[in-house]
Amino acid sequence: MRVLYFAWLRERIGMGSEEISPPDNVTTVADLIAWLKTREARYEAAFGDVTAIRVALDQEQADFDAPLTGVREVALFPPVTGG
């Protein structure tokens, strides 16, 4: 599974994307974030306030309780500020 990070999330984690293989008990977006936070301090710092995080699954906006089954690309980012 590919994970993408944008804006200050990308900066705090220190990379724009990575390939990950989460354990089987990671079935939703919320699970994934919880698991990422256990990996290293920079993830914990990046995901400290999950209310400030938005998610897209295979390039479609999704919620934290969305299942990851069959998903190839997860993007995590702050609320958008374009225009």
Partner: protein, 148 residues
Amino acid sequence: MTVRVQEADFDPGAELESLAAGDKEIGAVVSFTGLVRGTGDVSTMTLEHYPGMTEKALEAIEAEAHERWPLQASLVIHRVGPLPAGARIVFVATASRHRRAAFEAAEFLMDFLKTRAPFWKKEVTADGTEEWVDARETDNAAAERWAR
């Protein structure tokens, strides 16, 4: 219906000209141009985006505008990369038979683009300080006006 995400600048006059060309039913063309405001010490705005999803999100927003209003044509251009104060960031144009549809659709496109398209702005000041722009509650409220 056209969506473009690009680093290069664009020419609003030429875009307006080609948008209305060849369709004699068009009576009203509305455009919105967003510029980098040079407030305080902001010297540059850097626009990051999510290639792939950006285009899909903009196309979905545009398709929704065409569903809601009788539009003859529309265009969305959004720039990415570093942009100096005064530079054009975004351009939205709509063409319709009558003005109300063109005005409403253009405002809708901007409100939805601001809250649904994956762009992020970072302000860079003259001394090199960088700061990500926070999402504005007023933008969410603006987008919610169109709920149905």
